[in-house]
Assembly symmetry: C2
């Protein structure tokens, strides 16, 4: 499995992904799941993947036109006019790859399946995020649903639901995502460090801070340990039943 | 779905279950999922079910020998000598019911599937809890795994992992379970109030406090709202990245 979150704030976007890929517990490795295309001053597009690694790598390769020689490449993801068109391109590519590897009659929710979060901003539009399904269709982020998760989404959802605030700073948003990721890592072996994150400031049309966080990261360690203690403290102050 | 937790403390056991049953979002109802058999001074056995309602009701009916007339009933769950034997009886009964409704070749992880938590104490033994699988086999609680969850288990697991303490009071354990249930209810429509809980004090061989908590319960409301605020407070005090 995997865990990725794409989140929209009033002043920009935040993306975070883990890096564990596994085919069973005795066959796991580290693989990047976050990919960015940008034309400074004009567009910034970030994509995160969950699911079958052969499928997601094929999608990225097709988007980058790796089947062409270096001189011939002119990735259409850099030419689409809106983020909606980018999401359509990603959805069509994902569906094409899955269709190629899936036998007729097999369900799409199959071993070759994958899903994708793609977000960013193209000049003339607003920053936005889409969740692309294996069937190639997609949904867009709204004020009511200000974040998308893919992969192992359940463990880390309660804190997102409780603590998200559209006006929070990027630093607070990263902290929120780290708490969500830490809860997931503590409960599920298939999600693992290091984590990649990237922030995008609205109307900057350039990649914001991008960083990889590993298990030696002091702030992550402080958040991970501090959160456990903070939860216990918070817990002590709640009212109890008299039994 | 469903959410049930069976938890062992050093001084006893705590059980909690939700009551929502659903066959799709437009067909849901309230149904008790916690059942108790006791012989005061000799044994106390509590069982919680998750899965297909026809399957779990059939298991309970068989255990209660409802196919016999009232005078002829002598449920063997009241005669087994140890909790291990009780778990074997429950496992065999569950498997029998599933086998009856499942066609040959169909997987057990099917629409008629179910799983069960059964715990308690029988004179001569210690208080313990078992998790019974649809295949009829089961695992016992240990010091390393001091609680079992069935149903929609993921949302509520992180707080259990963080805040469980084998020496906590029953009141604190109920509070912990309510936080775990509240996180689940907030994230998943298939788990719903009211919740049933029961505590069992080691070596009492009698039912402890048993109560149903609905949405008007003042303590639950205070825990639910207080937990959100407490999380936000705790979150503010964690360190942040400088971006």
């Amino acid at each position: 499995m995997t865990y990725c979150i794409g989140l929209r704030l009033n002043h920009g976007l935040v993306f975070m992904s883990d890096t564990r890929t596994s085919a069973g517990v005795d066959n796991f490795a580290t693989s990047k799941k976050m990919f960015t295309w940008s034309v400074p001053g004009e567009r910034m597009i970030t994509l995160m993947t969950a699911g079958n690694l052969a499928t997601t790598q094929a999608v990225i390769s097709l988007l980058e036109e790796r089947s062409k020689t270096l001189e011939e490449r002119d990735p259409s993801i850099l030419r689409e006019g809106t983020m909606f068109q980018v999401a359509r391109l990603v959805g069509a590519t994902l569906r094409e790859v899955i269709d190629e590897t899936t036998n007729e009659g097999q369900l799409k929710q199959d071993q070759f399946s994958a899903s994708i979060i793609v977000g960013g901003q193209i000049k003339g539009g607003k920053p936005t995020v889409f969740l692309v399904y294996p069937q190639g269709n997609f949904i867009e982020i709204t004020q009511d649903t200000p974040f998308f998760q893919i992969g192992e989404t359940k463990y880390g959802k309660p804190i997102l639901v409780r603590a998200y605030d559209p006006d929070m700073s990027f630093a607070d948003a990263i902290k929120l995502l780290l708490v969500s990721f830490d809860s997931t890592v503590k409960s599920n072996l298939s999600v693992g460090l290091p984590f990649d994150f990237q922030v995008y400031e609205a109307d900057s049309f350039a990649m914001g801070t991008t960083r990889r966080i590993d298990e030696n990261d002091k702030i992550y360690q402080a958040i991970s340990e501090g959160w456990g203690d903070a939860l216990k403290d918070a817990f002590q102050h709640l009212p109890s039943y008299k039994l």
